[in-house]
């Protein structure tokens, strides 16, 4: 696979990654190495009552000045503002986030407000910040969003029923601690949904209009790992090896899409998620094969790579045929891990598809789709296919 002679790209991945079973016990050492002295722990109400958070807080010792545990499952602007208020009152100089993507993204928002002041809505824009934000160590308890290494924070504006996307290189976390033992308690359905979220990051990084070689390598390797290990982790959540592979894959895919970006698939998932509370990973899983079919006439060669990474035998096939086989294989994969295969099954009313298509046209991800999307009718076509399954 050669790249064009006039290829031009940016790639940045500044996060220090610490991996290993039990590695979360090193959080105090990592914070000390960064120079943090007063850490605000950010987590959710459920995790705050578990020994996961208890052990990490113990590792932090006196450097933990407080715990903000009011991050809801679909975090919003209000949670960021409340967390920042607590952090300010405690004089926090650093953040340790423990949880899934919602928690980590909330912590990114808090990191902005602790450095810059004000309210989160003051920072609507893109790449607006001009300096490093508050020190941030994140410890994911799910394997999917890749938020531990991305420059995005997706935070819901509940008043307007839409997801705000904050993107800035200054909010990429300083350290990501990947401890497989923290993910063993994740229920099978969430394991599947978050795992397919990571898969979708690898896929869209590979096909994005801003695709580049570094992200290709990360995305393809993530897809290989996920195809092999996600069914194992879903079937046996206590399998530490499979859990670890999934954490690694999610981080690889996160670094891939943080650089290459995502496309129509995520524009759809953001919109359907915001309007109908469909889990982001589930929404990606449902729409994925249909977006691949939509894009196949433009990036069939890329879809062939995905098919190969999934272990599909596409020898002797044209790229177009191999791309369609990739879409079929994704559909089977989604079913294999027990997720719904249609938006109808996920509870999305058919009557709202047109509004979803309209809203998806305003999602930043759509700019990077492999095939330019010029009309909501094109999105509606994909949504309708995904609704039927």
């Amino acid at each position: 696979m050669d790249y064009a002679a006039d290829l031009s790209f940016l790639f940045t991945n500044p996060t220090k990654v610490v991996y290993g079973v039990g590695s979360s016990a090193d959080v105090g050492l990592e914070l000390g190495a960064l120079g943090g002295k007063k850490a605000l722990v950010v987590t959710d109400a459920f995790l705050s009552k578990t020994e996961i958070v208890g052990k990490i807080v113990a590792s932090l010792g006196t450097t933990c000045v407080g715990i903000f545990s009011e991050v809801p499952p679909d975090s919003g602007v209000h949670a960021v503002n409340a967390g920042a208020e607590l952090g300010r009152s405690l004089g926090a100089d650093s953040i340790v986030s423990i949880g899934g993507g919602s928690v980590i993204d909330t912590a990114k928002g808090i990191a902005i407000l602790l450095t810059e002041g004000g309210s989160l809505l003051d920072y609507q824009g893109f790449q607006l910040l001009t300096r490093r934000q508050t020190l941030h160590i994140c410890i994911p308890t799910t394997a999917g969003t890749g938020s531990e290494v991305t420059y995005f924070a997706v935070i819901k504006d509940h008043d307007k029923k839409r997801k705000l996307i904050f993107g800035d290189h200054h909010i990429i976390p300083d350290v990501a601690i990947l401890d497989p033992s923290l993910t063993v308690g994740l229920p099978a359905v969430l394991t599947a949904a978050t795992g397919l979220d990571a898969f979708s990051h690898g896929l869209e990084a590979l096909t994005s209009a801003q695709r580049e070689p570094m992200s290709d390598a990360l995305g393809l390797h993530a897809i290989r790992i996920i195809r092999r290990n996600l069914p194992i982790a879903v079937k046996n959540g206590a399998d530490l090896k499979a859990r670890g592979q999934m954490l690694i894959a999610a981080t690889l895919a996160g670094a891939a899409f943080s650089n290459a970006q995502v496309g129509l698939l995520h524009a759809i998932a953001h919109t359907v998620g915001a309007r109908h509370a469909v889990h982001h990973g589930t929404a990606n899983a449902i729409a994925m094969p249909h977006v691949v079919r939509f894009n196949n006439d433009v990036v069939a060669d890329r879809h062939r790579l995905v098919a190969e990474a999934m272990g599909v035998d596409v020898r002797g096939m044209s790229d177009e045929a191999a791309g369609l086989r990739a879409a079929d294989a994704m559909s089977q994969f989604v079913a294999e891990v027990g997720l719904p295969r249609s938006f109808r099954e996920a509870g999305v009313p058919q009557s709202d598809l047109a509004a979803c298509a309209e809203a998806a046209m305003s999602d930043g991800a759509i700019v990077y789709n492999a095939k330019p999307v010029m009309s909501p009718r094109e999105v509606l076509g994909v949504l309708t296919a995904a609704w039927s399954g």
Binding site: L10, Q124, G125, F126, Q127, L128, T130, R162, I165, G167, D168, H169, A209, Q210, Q261, M361, S362, D363, G364, I366, V367, Y368, M374
Partner: protein, 139 residues
């Protein structure tokens, strides 16, 4: 000899170019979201301080284009900031503005989804500027 970039003469010519571009009128027919300000970072000695261009855009028409201070520009609902070298890349069509925002080459203050929706209009603003005989400040 071109018109110096970010000069009052250039901005006046830019307004004329925008309003003379039928593709912009079509692409921006739905734009009712107000002023877009473009800020160019200082490039001494040619441009000693940061300056802004105030573009009052509505439904495919540029009603006003003027040179403003950064403080004035910051009052616009959409404010896009970049180094002179980045704006030069935009005008030479080497940098697509919305992708430039995503990559951090340009900074956007304002509602990203609204800007994303206006990608075709943004491209026509660039096309309008590209018709001008521009003398860049580093030339």
């Amino acid at each position: 000899m071109g018109i110096p970039f970010f000069s009052e003469e250039w901005i006046s010519a830019y307004k004329t170019a925008i309003n003379g571009n039928p593709a912009y009128k079509t692409a921006a027919a739905d734009w009712t979201y107000g002023v877009v300000a473009l800020i160019c970072k200082a490039l001494p000695p040619a441009l000693p301080t940061d300056v802004g261009i105030w573009l009052d855009l509505d439904r495919g028409v540029c009603h006003e284009a003027k040179l403003v201070t950064v403080a004035e520009a910051a009052k616009a609902p959409f404010c896009i900031t970049g180094e002179h070298a980045r704006w030069k890349q935009v005008l030479k069509k080497e940098l697509e503005p919305i992708k430039g925002m995503m990559q951090g080459k340009l900074k956007l203050k304002g509602d990203l989804p609204t800007i994303v929706r206006a990608v075709a209009a943004a491209q026509e603003l660039v096309n309008s500027a590209a018709t001008l005989d521009t003398k860049f400040l580093d030339e």
